[in-house]
Amino acid sequence: MDIIVAADAPLVESLKTSSADGVIFGVAPFAQRFRENYKPSRLRELLKDVSGAGFDVWLAMNAIIHEEELPQVKQTLEALRGVSASGLLFADLAIIRLAKAVGLELPLIYHPETYVTSAADVRALAAAGVDVHVLARESTLEGIERIAEETDAKLAFVGHGHLNMFHSRRHQLSLFAEQQQQSPPARGIVHYIREHSREGRCPIYEDARGTHIFRPHPSAAFQAVESFKNHLDFLIVDSLLLEDAAVLTAVEDYARARSGQTIKGDYRQYDSGFLFEQTGLKPGGRS
């Protein structure tokens, strides 16, 4: 199980001497929920810079693509031909066709947030050319184990970080500001929402692609690492909304957990996502 970290350039400098096995860079303007996105020309520089670190480098174009963006998506993919990355992470199925059309030969990593929930999904997308499948964020550990046992495909899971749970094309904060006759917040400025009967505040921000809302607490998956070692090929650590120091500590702790050592960080503010959570169709998670 390799540890892959979604990163920006400053964080990568620190990661070079860490236990991370790979990094993910966002490709502008078609990555979303990354600390920073980079144009292909800058990505070539970054790739050159990290070439000595022995990293796998995944490039992310995980936006939901709208019709008018297709020509620019194609141009961006063309510009990525020949880069020495080890995979292209995407969410929109258009990328499969367009990458093939422009002759981009990077391995394809499908990360649609919610759609890979069963081995049937993995088999369907593998048949369409997907090389690595990022399992749905609402997967349980039991579900991950079962999918791994039922397929031979390469599997990844976002086990650490602020998990996104909502993406609207609407600019919800700006619309509210307009309603309140206030000026809209700048893009990327994090606010919080809280429902009165529930604990925790959910981070919310806007970008060019709409509004994103995250779980109230960041998630960690240390309790699952022993199982992940047998069932996952890649554990993804998402650095969005986290401090560099927290990310670096987590990376070292995942490496420790992977080799059976005791972790050192303080994760009392973290939850375990859906890995051990009972959710269902009725209140209280009943089915």
């Binding site: 939901i64 929930t117 069963s118 369907a124």
Partner: protein, 405 residues
């Protein structure tokens, strides 16, 4: 120009029959397994068979939703279910999960429609599924008319667009707000509609408290004014959302869009105001045109000050009519009394009204007020009503003719 299919929700057999009675070309419904809207009274296989017989006898089609994103183990029995649906003779499957789509394509000859839960927003993604053999794609509700126009020109697959009903605030099929905040699986049929809750907003720039709450919720979609353009674009099917909605809602909304499409197709002059007035009688939430006219403005958001409910107008459902005696059997849905003038909602009796001069209970005893929900009532009238016609409280300025009973 081909006439687009009008596709209506069927939460149960009664609403299936109502939708077809009021002019739906097709209905969609969920079975007991593999379908979202777990709280809708989903259909058994026997119900589906009866629904298909009823629809086919009237020239309508039935699509079955298998649109969950299944967890491991939840696809057990899916291929047997497919075989049963094929034997029953349904007209298509609506699927969201890539695995379910692939299984349906491999293990049945049923036409496969890709659900809006896939949030397909461009022609390349649409053509990805088209090239794999699907017959229809139901477009994401985030598309503008302009985007649909371009997309239509770039694909040969059948395209379906939503024209009326509830909107997800998030891109559909990608939301886990309900999973997180209510432990209810949004993508397996348990959505708690957490996007419609009131939230306190805390932040460096904007703040609200619960009394002036922040809302993620969108107004429902109403595309009466956009249907002419969708029609001219050659969209193959126009869909009404709402498997949880009432008989009255289904009847009113289907009837309105039926008449709108038929008017367009006949090339007759359009009086959109009439259709807008009619659709307003459905007991829906406030409406807007969603993303169809481009980026939604604050007028398309459902802030607390807008969260009013339209007036309830559904007085009674017609269960039977005896032509010899000139007597209707009604089922009460909201109070009305002798002296009230009720508007008839019927595909056969546009603009008809009835003024109640005498009303009896099931035993034939005269009553002045129908106040008991679901009470069976007898009404003497020479208006030739039919089962599933609806009587509702008269709306202002809508009287065409009035008859005394």
């Amino acid at each position: 120009m081909a006439r687009p299919e009008l596709l209506a929700p069927a939460g149960d057999l009664e609403r299936l029959k109502v939708a077809i009675r009021y002019g739906a070309d097709a209905v969609y419904l969920g079975g007991k397994s593999f379908s979202l809207r777990a709280r809708a009274s989903n259909f058994t296989l026997a119900d589906i068979a009866e629904g298909v017989r009823h629809a086919h006898a009237r020239g309508a089609r039935v699509y079955v939703t298998t649109n969950i994103l299944p967890r491991p183990g939840e696809l057990d029995g899916f291929c047997d279910y497919l075989a049963e649906l094929e034997r029953i003779g349904i007209d298509g499957l609506i699927c969201a999960s890539p695995g379910i789509i692939q299984l349906a394509l491999q293990h049945s000859s049923l036409p496969v429609h890709v659900s809006t839960q896939q949030s397909l927003t461009n022609s390349e993604a649409v053509n990805f599924w088209y090239s794999r053999g699907v017959e229809r794609v139901i477009l994401a509700r985030e598309l503008s008319l302009e985007e649909i126009r371009t997309l239509r020109a770039r694909t040969g697959v059948e395209l379906e667009a939503f024209v009326h009903g509830g909107m997800c605030a998030s891109y559909s099929g990608k939301c886990t707000l309900s999973n997180t905040l209510a432990a209810r699986d949004a993508n397996r049929g348990g959505c708690a509609h957490s996007c419609r809750w009131a939230y306190e907003l805390l932040g460096p720039r904007l703040e609200s408290r619960f009394e002036d709450a922040f809302s993620l919720s969108a107004k429902d979609l109403r595309a009466i004014q956009e249907v002419p353009e969708l029609y001219s674009l050659g969209i193959d099917a126009l869909k009404i959302e709402g498997r949880m909605k009432s008989v009255h809602y289904v009847a009113t909304v289907v009837n309105t869009y039926r008449r709108l499409i038929d008017t367009l197709h006949a090339g007759e002059p359009l009086k959109l105001k009439t259709f807008l007035e009619e659709i307003a009688k459905a007991e829906n939430r406030p409406t807007a045109s969603g993303h169809l006219r481009g980026t939604p403005t604050r007028d398309a958001q459902l802030f607390s000050r807008d969260a009013r409910r339209p007036i309830q107008r559904f007085a009674a459902l017609v269960r039977d009519y005896d032509t010899e005696r000139g007597e209707a059997v009604l089922e009460q849905r909201s109070p009305f009394r002798v002296g009230d003038t009720l508007e008839v909602l019927s595909p056969d009796l546009p603009g008809e009204t009835i003024t109640i001069s005498e009303l009896r209970d099931e035993a034939g005893i005269p009553i002045a007020v129908a106040r008991h929900p679901r009470q069976r009532l007898r009404l003497r009238t020479d208006v030739a009503l039919k089962p599933y016609d609806i009587l509702r409280k008269q709306a202002p300025n809508s009287i065409a003719t009035t008859r005394k009973t």
